[in-house]
């Protein structure tokens, strides 16, 4: 079972991942297996930067487990604005809740926060660092559509700042997966992620051009290239257009290709792809609830049985 906190996908073993995904599948098939299990427990949603969907997805998951959620409101109106340290903030909130979900703009914030609290803490995104609960729902979606072994996955877009990409790439090293990274040179994977993939002995290749690998792919994971990463609008336009997919671009792809995206998208996937059998991104977003239910269930444990932690 998982450890007490979920900070980085790098800490997830194949067994951890499979336990959560199996549990999520059981919940998906029959939500009554966990209904009411965490009645009376409280999950604190500590969002130091806005993320409506991730927050609502955790909220929905906790409520479907019978529990309650509290949140700190907007950062502007909280004591954080007055200069309180993150360490102090989470130590106070720990007293109000049975578990914490943290979204914060600084890399390493989840690890820091976890050192100051005894209740389980889930990293829901720390700057450009990690977003491991997103990874679990990504893996769930990949497993549903393509399986998790002997597959070829293409990951495309902003690989430098994309925390969902960093977490996913780490997690995929637990499986027999060939990983292809497609991005503009300036947005390639950061050195530390390449280092870890190399250390894990992963089968990895980097490309600037999707055409080089598209026909081989079972899964294409697209991420958004953010305008603010470029000093000039013109540079952004030149790059963004090349990493946009539509049915024409996908003409060379396998019929079984699974197209994923952590959402929100801007225009990197044309709406015409939505209606095709390849488009799985909305299903992927919906998977967030059963997967986070399974995750929270395992982190919160079961007081009566006392054997789930």
């Amino acid at each position: 079972m998982l450890q007490d906190h979920l900070i980085s996908a790098a800490h997830l073993s194949r067994d951890d991942i499979e336990a959560v995904l199996d549990h999520a599948a059981a919940i998906d098939a029959d939500p009554s297996v966990v209904s009411g299990r965490h009645e009376g427990r409280v999950l604190a949603l500590c969002f130091f930067e806005p993320s409506t969907r991730t927050k609502m997805s955790f909220e929905s998951a906790m409520k479907r487990l019978g529990g309650e959620t509290i949140d700190m409101g907007s950062v502007e109106s909280s004591s954080v604005k007055k200069g309180e340290s993150l360490a102090d903030t989470v130590r106070v909130i720990e007293g109000y809740a049975d578990a914490l979900v943290l979204r914060h703009p600084s890399e390493g914030s989840a690890k820091l926060a976890s050192e100051f609290v005894d209740v389980p803490l889930v990293n829901a995104g720390d700057g450009a660092g990690q977003h491991p609960s997103q990874t679990l729902l990504d893996l769930y979606t990949i497993r549903e559509n393509a399986g998790l072994d002997d597959i070829t996955v293409g990951i495309m877009g902003d690989l430098k700042y994309g925390r969902t990409v960093h977490s996913l790439a780490h997690a995929l090293t637990n499986f027999d997966v060939r990983q292809h990274f497609v991005s503009p040179e300036s947005l390639r994977l950061p050195r530390n992620v390449r280092y870890d993939l190399h250390e894990a002995g992963a089968q990895v290749r980097e490309h600037t051009d999707l055409d080089e690998v598209l026909p081989e792919l079972d899964v294409l994971y697209v991420t958004r290239i953010q305008r603010e990463r470029f000093p000039e609008e013109r540079e952004y336009r030149a790059v963004a257009g090349e990493y946009r997919i539509d049915n024409d671009v996908l003409a060379d792809a396998s019929d079984d290709l699974t197209v994923m995206h952590p959402l929100p998208r801007v225009d990197e996937i044309a709406p015409e792809v939505d209606g095709t059998a390849r488009a799985k991104y909305f299903g992927q977003a919906h998977n967030g609830v059963p997967v986070r239910m399974a995750l929270l269930d395992s982190l919160l444990g079961d007081d009566e049985e006392g054997d789930r932690r």
Partner: protein, 161 residues
């Protein structure tokens, strides 16, 4: 032998850090948090001919012994260094530096967006890799040749004996 020559070659109580990689002596002082304002007596030999290293630096600091975290960082920039503790002109202890698994509280993370650069009640921690170090909080990797640039003199000063 004049007094001056004696001061350079012998110290009464303190530490002699020998076999420092040539050119790293000033970084050694940075690790020790020594910038001259503390009044320590320091002697430095730079690019002294050495059988073992070709060229080596030697740093002698009077009245000062090193903490373990200082030695840990020294091992990154001067892996061949030997540390001689001197009391009453005698070498009472002689140690090679050893590479450790991590260094705490001495290096600053170069990632400005790392939580360790915010005003939080923690010390930095870097895992030692085969050719560099890696921030335990944000995972940023600093290559071995760049480690010296990220020494926090303020932090190392606090850990001084």
């Amino acid at each position: 032998m004049t007094d001056e020559e004696l001061r350079v070659s012998k110290i009464r109580d303190g530490t002699v850090i020998d076999h420092v990689t040539g050119g790293q002596a000033l970084n050694v002082l940075a690790i020790l948090g020594i910038d001259g304002t503390g009044g320590e007596t320091v002697s430095i030999g730079m690019n002294v001919p050495s059988d073992k290293l070709g060229r080596k630096d030697v740093v002698k600091v009077e009245g000062r012994e090193l903490s373990q975290s200082e030695v840990d960082v020294l091992s990154l920039i001067a892996p061949e260094a030997t540390i001689n503790i001197i009391r009453d002109f005698d070498v009472v202890d002689k140690n090679r530096v050893e590479r450790t698994e991590s260094v705490t509280g001495i290096l600053v993370c170069p990632n400005h967006n790392c939580i360790t650069n915010a005003d939080e009640p923690i010390r930095t921690e870097f895992e030692v890799l085969s050719d560099g170090v890696r921030c335990s909080y944000c995972d940023t990797i600093v290559r071995e040749g760049d480690v010296a640039e990220h020494i926090d003199a303020r932090q190392s000063g606090e850990t001084a004996l």
